[in-house]
């Protein structure tokens, strides 16, 4: 790419950001099937789709009410050799989903993926069987903290669907935010259907 073309693209991108032309899609309350997802959920209120700002791979949607730092609902269907996170540096290995993973390895895949983001020493707790959209899966809770030291609580549900992995995950600050959404998130998880 020539310098002038690169500069032009940068100018267009900068101007776009400055003028606020980037839009945030609104996901309406009710049944919702994310693009590429192998299942649908029912949302009890509108959510903002912040996927475009979240630097995630194809098949991973990120919804939020107040911004991803305060609450984020991740809805994903990941193909074999796919990832939950995208790395800035292509040379840095990232956790990859493999269709032969056992139940605890699926949890490890999610936790290790979080460790590559801003989350410090993420830990899974309370692993238990729970189905996702009719398929047997694993539900677990997440405890971690941000780089800046904010305690984060989460919950996730993973289940294989054929060769793919279906995933629901919610993360929010432990103080106030997680508790406010916990019941609603349980209902979202329970609503998952193919």
């Amino acid at each position: 790419m020539s310098i002038s073309r690169r500069g032009l693209l940068a100018a267009v991108a900068g101007g776009c950001i400055a003028s606020g032309c980037a839009t945030i899609p609104l996901v309406k309350a009710g049944p919702y099937r994310a693009r590429g997802a192998g299942f649908a959920v029912t949302l009890s209120r509108p959510w903002s789709d912040l996927t475009a700002m979240s630097f995630r791979p194809t098949g991973v949607r990120v919804l939020s009410i107040d911004g991803v730092q305060l609450n984020q609902l991740v809805i994903a269907t990941i193909e074999p050799q796919g990832a939950l996170v995208r790395m800035v540096d292509r040379d840095t290995p990232r956790p990859l989903y493999r269709s032969d993973m056992g139940e605890t390895e699926l949890v490890e895949f999610v936790i290790d993926s979080l460790a590559t983001l801003e989350y410090q020493d993420p830990q899974s707790t309370n692993l238990r069987p729970q189905s996702l959209a009719g398929a047997p899966g694993v539900r677990f809770d997440i405890n971690t903290r941000t780089e800046a030291g904010l305690n984060i609580t989460g919950t996730a549900l993973v289940a294989r669907a054929g060769e793919n992995l279906n995933l629901l995950m919610f993360l929010a600050p432990s103080e106030h935010y997680y508790g406010v959404f916990a019941q609603e998130i349980d209902a979202v998880f329970a609503s998952a259907a193919t």
């Binding site: 540096d89 410090q120 707790t125 069987p129 694993v138 780089e147 800046a148 030291g149």
Partner: protein, 431 residues
Amino acid sequence: MKRLAAAMVAALAVTTAAIAQESVQGEQIPPPAATTQDYPADGEPAQQAAPDAIAPPAQPAQTIPPPSRPRPEINTDEGGLWGMSDRAEQEARNSGQLERDPALNAYVREVACRVASDACGDIRLYVMNRPYFNASMAPNGYMEVWSGLLLRVEDEAQLAFVLGHEIGHYRERHALAMLRAVRGRAGAAMVFSIIAAGAGVGIVGDIVYLGTIASVFGFSRENESQADMLGYDHAVAARYDPHAGHMLWSSLLQETQASDNPDVRRQETRASIFRTHPLSADRIEALTARAAQATGGETQRARYRAAIRPFLDSWLRSDLRRRDYGQTWFLLDRLAAAGEDLGVVEYYRGEINRLRRGDGDRERAFQHYTNAIAYPDAPAATWRELGDLALRDGRNAEAVEQFTAYLARAPQAVDRALIEARIQQLSGGGQ
């Protein structure tokens, strides 16, 4: 990719330059609490700590002498440097990566003080849970030691050498010299704003951070050679093994060559202390020659290993998450060299094989897990992994046996409900 990284650094600089400029030119950041609150009665007069400051871990009051150098005036370049260091220290103090274990912090600080001698009172030490080999000491006395360094250092003498090396940079004011050198090339405030904002996120953030500080705090080879010799002198004066320095640097270069990543092997400095401390063969040769003339000194290996043993499991897990299995394997070989902690080491060798999934890895994982359970320090998870392997091979009765053994060893296991459900399912289904 390099362009992208450069653009990111430039963006960081632009977005934070204004704040940094204000700090350097006019606003004096309150000194960190630990610099002032714990001095004995005959030390420097205590200043008021910042009201929202969180006390750093384990800075024993009764043993800290007063600082060896006064705080520079804020309207000097060195004062500005201290101001930026204060800001970085404040972030470290609040960081989610800060390791607060009192015993570990006290131990590392004790070693630092032993080699720092009369500069002990200058040091405020923070152990950070970051899985890379790095240590640094800022001009204001704020020192970071990363868990990746503690995992790779073999004994107390090597730790003493690397801390002495950093203290050498501090004593000789190498950062100030560097600042004055770069001031003609770039706005100093902008440069230090990169440091302030450079701590990225996660494992990638650690690498970006290393690269960022390398671009700013990359000392000259002359500085490094001098700091090596000062580190050597400090460590030997504290009666540590004179061979520690060259052995450590050599080992780290070997680990770099053991990397799975060809780029890491080609760029010896990637994601290591050598981005900020350029290493050359002549530095190792100089340390080797110097040590050859010395006698005596202690490694304090057993004492060091006892201090880090409680953290081996969690640090190795973090290292494994980097997914550079070649480097982690090299590290495990070093940890096993003295025949200690073999249950943990064998478990993690099995973990590498399990995660890598190459040809023959499954069989090797089974062998290493089996080796691990022969040692009393094998993590309980070893039995769960053996159960998983048995389950995959259709050996259901053995899987039930291993899962049951796992739960017996870890009755509070976070996955107890899941494992119990699995046992129930297998028991009902039979072989």
